[in-house]
């Protein structure tokens, strides 16, 4: 699996939704991702992709859509 598929799989686990067709949906505004999910997302990115993102790096405006998360994960992987 490439980074994109892995991120989508993680998001699917967390929210129960498939974002493959909605890469620009705002995850925070729609209430799909809360703080707990966010932490879990960071931990999964770390364990599955080796992407090390500290909690304080997490600026919501830069992580609020699946597309942005994929871009961030690809950039730091």
């Amino acid at each position: 699996m490439d980074t994109k598929e892995t991120v989508l799989a993680i998001l699917n686990d967390l929210t129960g939704e498939d974002f493959a067709a909605n890469l620009d949906e705002n995850l925070f505004e729609s209430g799909l991702l809360d703080s707990m999910d966010t932490v879990q997302l960071l931990l999964e990115l770390q364990s599955q992709l080796g992407v090390d993102v500290p909690v304080s790096e997490f600026d919501r405006s830069q992580w609020d859509t699946p597309a942005k998360i994929i871009a961030k994960a690809s950039a730091t992987a």
């Binding site: 707990m36 966010t38 931990l43 909690v55």
Partner: protein
């Protein structure tokens, strides 16, 4: 010697805006007059601590030097090493003055000599910088910028709590002329809204009505000393708290904008919140986001990473309890602040049960504007009751 408390009276605004005029002209033409800005800021901060408050002024200087040494030392250490015990020790040292200031009044009749107006807000900023140095999100720390960030005059006494990287970026970048004009327009609107909130509504709720309602509640005591007057006191106090603090925050944001800095907003219609979680995303936002990012998220991350608790729901409950207990203690070491913290932790945990129930039974539960109005009504009342605890009036009513 004159003494000027921030945003206390019209004179302060006139003096400050006149003093900032050269800076505004500079920003309009694309230049930040750094030296002039430093002199004006230093002068107005000094005027906060003149006369009988001189000891607080000395405490402020000592405090800032102390934090500067800690942050500079840690930034230097962090360039080559990164261990948990050192990080924890430095954070503990950083919050130590605040802890002493908060604990001293609980132990005896005197206030700590280390205290000064705004110490909490400076502590939030210093600790935030330490955390980000630890995480490596702040790589280059300029000590000059750190001082500007800590002592940024419009927000020094009571926030809003900005973030170092955001502030530094704003500071380095002078807004374009059209952006700056838009910022000034916002500033004027916020100033007038702030006047309306703080000096008119805050005055009516806080100065005119609150003492009378307090007196009525002290006289007409029913079961458990409760009375209709106490109910009115509760709503009145909630209104006073909001309009006074939101008004103050609007001033602080407005003056920041005048100085070319986009200090984040503190309130977003908190009494229209649909639930307690929503409320904390709207009320004193820079504080609640600070707690979310540096306490709740870190605690959750720590518990999950070390697998201390398996159950996700339990993790969030523990993190909420820690989060709001710390917030309670931060307000002060009294039973009512701590109960206020526990009350909100309990409310948000119950709210989470409800949200999960709602998610499961989405089909069966009605959702329309009446249920939304009901949600806002319930949230509003829960919040007002929490403010009654927070006000300390129950302490006076029951124990004094």
């Amino acid at each position: 010697m004159i003494n000027l408390q921030p945003y206390a009276d019209p004179k302060y605004f006139v003096l400050l805006l006149v003093a900032l005029l050269p800076l505004m002209i500079g920003l309009y033409y694309g230049h930040r007059l750094r030296i002039y800005e430093t002199i004006v800021s230093a002068a107005f901060i000094t005027l906060m601590f003149t006369g009988a408050k001189w000891q607080q002024g000395v405490a402020l200087i000592a405090y800032v030097v102390y934090q500067l040494l800690l942050v500079a030392g840690y930034a230097r250490y962090r360039q080559t090493k990164n261990t948990t015990p050192v990080f924890v020790s430095v954070v503990a040292l950083s919050i130590l003055p605040l802890v002493i200031v908060k604990v001293t009044p609980a132990l005896g009749p005197n206030q700590s000599l280390l205290g000064f107006l705004g110490i909490s807000y400076l502590t939030f900023k210093a600790v935030q910088v330490l955390m980000e140095l630890r995480d490596g999100t702040i790589k280059q720390l300029s000590l000059g910028m750190f001082l500007r960030f800590m002592l940024f005059m419009p927000v020094i006494s009571s926030g809003p709590i900005d973030r170092y990287r955001r502030f530094a970026q704003d500071y380095e970048q002078v807004p374009t002329q059209s952006d700056y004009v838009a910022m000034l327009e916002r500033a004027v609107w916020y100033l007038f809204l702030g006047f309306f909130y703080k000096f008119i509504l805050g005055y009516v709720f806080g100065t005119l009505w609150l003492p009378r309602l307090a007196q009525a509640a002290m006289v007409h005591r029913g079961w458990l000393d409760l009375s209709p007057a106490l109910g009115l006191y509760m709503y009145d106090y909630a209104m006073y708290l909001f309009f006074d603090f939101a008004g103050y925050s609007l001033f602080a944001v407005a003056l920041s904008l005048v100085m070319g800095i986009n200090t984040p907003m503190n309130f977003n219609r908190p009494f229209q919140a649909h639930n307690i979680k929503d409320f904390w995303n709207r009320w004193h936002m820079t504080l609640s986001f600070w707690f979310r990012d540096f306490i709740f998220m870190r605690v959750t991350f720590f518990i999950m990473k070390h697998k201390l608790i398996k159950n996700r729901i339990r993790i969030s409950q523990v993190a909420y309890l820690i989060n709001f207990l710390v917030m309670g203690f931060w307000h002060g070491v009294t039973w009512y602040y701590i109960v206020y913290g526990l009350f909100h932790a309990g409310a948000i945990i119950i709210n989470d049960y409800w949200l999960r129930f709602k998610k499961k039974h989405r089909k069966q539960l009605p959702h329309n504007r009446w249920t939304e109005a009901l949600a806002i009504f319930i949230t509003f009342n829960v919040v007002c009751f929490s403010f009654l605890i927070f006000s300390g009036f129950l302490d006076t009513l029951w124990f004094k």
